[in-house]
């Protein structure tokens, strides 16, 4: 179906999500999960099941009971040991949903509970899943000789948002071949795991993603689990089976400690960073949270003397469905807020300090450093548009002077700045070693079909690909169609993460279009082209993990946020938000504006709601800032038509700039979020004491 037609069908309510698909005589599946965080279990009693009802444990799995993860393995169904609350233990299926729930309640499971680790603070040596020690220069000497040391501990909060769309999978067998509908963002990962789980050939399993899937968080592990369960139950019951499972997107708390040595001019000359991030019970494969966090810990800044101790902690918490910006968000929050706090303590403005810390050393042989130039340009641009320096000075001055009686009822004002980057796919080992592909087919009537499994939850990637193809081939974008959601028909284009799909798969699309143009001259149709590559062939991977400034492939964003705090209610109101983004060539500015706005709202929700669960709606009036967005266009040679993906970049900029602005407004250096009126009241009360 052409793009335009898809959109019209969506408006009329005809788009099918997984939960909308109905198959005749379909059974229901039910997952029995652990109520305890850690321990062991044994199934003591299963009631006599009526005809058509089936009970499955790990012993009934025909294949391998291990979901493959990067550096880790997780059982599909727990065998004896329980690792987290909500861990799937066993399955039951049958024709009636209500009867299933009744039967599930009669299954007697005995638990031997052990003391769980539920937070980073409770962790010990055995909970360390990964650790990294990075050392540069002479940190000990630097701290001995420095003029001043500033240290702080930064904390990010627990967040939990409800998925609206239930996670649903439907499986059925036909002529010994399996078809599964599910909501995965990585078709072939799901298919391969199902095949191993059931001990069948990959060619006998077809995974299909329905027309539309709601876009929230990491959607690879949980959809794969549910799809596998549906497939197994269907195999056993010899009926189609559907399973729905409601879950939430989560962010677990993290701790980042920054200790910075300053010289006589208050400029940082060395730093020690300690970083603790919660993996949950297992290390999910993609995205690689820990590596991305490591890469972001120092932000865009260069220090000659640096020591990083970073820990990825295993806790007994549910590991899947995490926010896609987990890792970098925590790292940027700390470094950006820390540099802003240093500036305030040393009575510098944050822009001057941050600018001075950007890479100073040119590359060897005076090679031009595009990244650094771009960073300075976007920083300068956003400062200018926001009139940051004047406002910052004015708000500082207002804060420090003695207030007149009639000034106590004025709102407290603050302005904050942050500088972040995104696009970490070159850090992921799996992407470097696997070739991903795309296929194009042009017909005589100028209808183009793009085949890619980089399925998407909304229209944006399809529209972007259609824009690229239409520009290169001179076609009507609305008439371009896609074969994307089916492992039988679409090639493996890898996991659906926006920046990678845009930059890497988009580049393959561009190359494919050029090949089509070359073949078009011969006049033989249809013209079918397949392009494949792994990520290492298009990205510079020779980078130091703590030094981001050499990476032209990253997308950059500088942001300024201006807030007001109501003097009586202490409500924080975002007044203005300025961003300048460098993301290569901007192919669809209006669509990117929509995406940027969505990410900013997401960032504001994270930082300003006490409990995001159930509060995650269109943001109330007071949290809707005026957004001013500018682009710095510098064509990126490895991106399609020079473009790079933006992904969750704008959301990374919000928290540090927001908290820095609030810190200025109330005159207290805040080191954590969320920030709600009750927190402001506490801070002000402490300050008075």
């Amino acid at each position: 179906m052409a793009l335009q037609e898809e959109m019209i069908q969506t408006l009329k309510g005809h788009s099918k999500f997984a939960s909308d698909i109905k198959i005749k005589n379909c059974y229901y599946g039910h997952i029995i999960t652990s109520p305890i965080h850690k321990g062991t279990f044994s199934i003591k009693k299963v009631p006599e099941l009526p005809h058509g009802y089936y009970f499955i444990t790990s012993k009934d799995i025909p294949g391998i009971n291990k979901l493959s993860l990067y550096l880790d393995n997780m059982p599909f169904l727990a065998e004896k040991e329980i690792h987290f609350e909500g861990e799937p233990l066993c399955l039951i299926c049958g024709p009636l949903k209500e009867e299933l729930e009744r039967l599930a309640g009669q299954i007697h499971i005995e638990y031997q509970e052990e003391t769980p680790c539920l937070s980073i603070n409770e962790a010990s040596e055995i909970n360390i899943l990964q650790k990294e020690y990075i050392h540069k220069g002479d940190v000990a000497q630097t701290f001995m000789k420095c003029a001043k040391i500033i240290e702080n501990e930064y904390k990010t909060n627990f967040e939990e948002y409800q998925f609206i769309e239930p996670q649903t999978a439907i499986a059925y067998w036909e002529n010994k071949k399996l078809t599964v509908y599910c909501t995965t963002k990585n078709l072939f990962y799901t298919r391969n795991n199902i095949a191993e789980f059931l001990n069948i050939s990959k060619n006998h399993a077809n995974v299909i993603v329905p027309d539309f899937v709601q876009d929230q968080g990491e959607k690879q592990i949980l959809p794969t689990l549910i799809a596998s369960y549906a497939a197994l139950l269907s195999y056993v019951a010899k009926k189609p089976v559907t399973i729905s499972y409601n879950n939430t997107v989560k962010r677990y708390p993290s701790i980042i400690r920054h200790k910075t040595a300053l010289d006589e001019n208050h400029l940082p000359i060395g730093a020690k960073i300690e970083f603790y991030i919660d993996a949950g019970a297992f290390n999910i494969a993609y995205p690689n949270i820990f590596k991305r966090a490591l890469f972001s810990l120092c932000g865009a800044y260069e220090l000659d003397n640096l020591e990083i101790n970073a820990y990825y902690i295993r806790t007994n918490k549910i590991p899947f469905t995490r926010f896609l910006n987990t890792g970098p968000l925590e790292a940027f929050f700390a470094i950006e807020l820390h540099t802003s706090n240093i500036a305030r303590i040393c009575e510098l403005d944050p822009y001057t300090l941050k600018n001075s810390l950007l890479q100073r050393t040119p590359k060897k042989n005076n090679e031009k450093i595009n990244s650094t130039e771009s960073i300075r340009e976007i920083l300068t641009d956003v400062i200018k548009r926001a009139d940051f320096l004047r406002k910052y000075a004015a708000y500082e001055a207002f804060l420090k002077r003695k207030k007149q009686p009639d000034e106590f009822n004025l709102p407290m004002r603050g302005i904050g700045i942050s500088l972040c980057f995104f696009g970490f796919d070159f850090l992921d080992e799996l992407l470097k070693t696997t070739k991903y592909s795309i296929k194009l087919s042009l017909h005589k009537n100028n209808n183009l079909t793009i085949y890619t499994s980089a399925v998407e939850s909304d229209q944006s990637l399809k529209q972007l690909f259609a824009t690229i193809a239409s520009r290169l081939l001179g076609l009507n974008a609305a008439k371009i169609s896609f074969v994307s959601q089916n492992t039988q028909n679409a090639p493996d284009s890898g996991p659906l993460t926006e920046t990678r799909v845009i930059t890497h798969i988009g580049k393959l699309l561009e190359q494919g279009c050029y090949s089509i143009l070359a073949k078009k001259k011969k006049g033989i149709f249809p013209i079918t082209i397949k392009k494949a590559s792994s990520i290492s062939s298009t990205q510079d991977t020779k980078v130091k993990i703590y030094d981001s400034t050499y990476c032209d492939s990253l997308t950059w964003c500088a942001a300024v946020i201006e807030i007001e705090i109501e003097p009586v209610t202490l409500e924080i109101i975002c007044k203005n938000f300025w961003l300048t983004i460098e993301a290569g060539t901007i192919l669809e500015p209006e669509k990117i504006r929509i995406q940027v706005e969505k990410e900013i709202l997401s960032g504001i929700r994270s930082v300003s709601f006490k409990q995001a669960f159930k509060d995650h709606k269109y943001t109330p009036k007071q949290n809707l800032p005026l957004i001013s967005l500018n682009f710095l266009e510098k064509p990126y040679k490895h991106g399609p038509l020079g473009a790079k993906g933006i992904g969750e970049l704008p959301s990374l900029c919000v928290a540090p700039a927001y908290v820095a602005a609030v810190s200025q407004a109330i005159g207290i250096n805040i080191t954590k979020f969320p920030l709600v009126p009750e927190n402001i009241e506490e801070y002000l009360a402490k300050n008075e004491d």
Binding site: S15, Q214, D215, D458, V596, K598, Y618
Partner: protein, 161 residues
């Protein structure tokens, strides 16, 4: 329990458990899946329908309340003239995200414009404030609704002349 009501302009009757929700009836008995099953307890607003021209959460309406009512789902509303301006605006402004809440958003737009043909930006934001959407920003939705008011005003004045 036998219940007679009008669904998308057609007289219809069902035999249903009295507490079965309208949402389940629409989706399972009639196969109309445009109305989405989200939270099922009135929070997310994915299941909006019109009952007697009033916008309601279908997950909160039990079957026994349906007798004699007129129910309009997105499938029914999409056949109306009013839908055409909404469709035009949403396509032009291109605010369709994943599409899960889009049907409900369309019905909520119609409910707003039926009561207030020329809402201000603040009134539009207020009316949307209970929506559960992660895909789109708000400016574009507001722009789309304002565009709809322009289209409808234009149509009205064309009719008069």
């Amino acid at each position: 329990m036998k219940i007679n009501f009008i669904l998308n302009g057609k007289e219809t009757h069902i035999d249903s458990a009295p507490l079965k929700s309208l949402l389940t009836i629409i989706r399972e008995d009639f196969g109309l899946t445009g109305t989405k099953y989200g939270c099922a307890h009135g929070e997310c607003n994915s299941c909006l329908v019109f009952v007697n021209d009033m916008l309601v959460n279908s997950c909160l309406i039990p079957a026994f309340r349906l007798a004699g009512t007129r129910v309009t789902t997105i499938e029914g509303f999409s056949q109306s003239k009013e839908f055409q301006t909404i469709e035009k605006a949403f396509l032009k402004i291109n605010i369709i995200g994943c599409g899960f809440c889009t049907p409900s958003l369309i019905l909520a737009t119609e409910a707003l414009l039926s009561n207030k043909p020329h809402p201000t930006r603040e009134e539009i934001i207020e009316s949307l404030s209970s929506f559960f959407c992660l895909c789109s920003g708000y400016h574009q939705v507001v722009d789309a609704i304002q565009y709809i008011t322009e289209l409808r005003s234009k149509k009205k004045s064309e009719k008069k002349s």
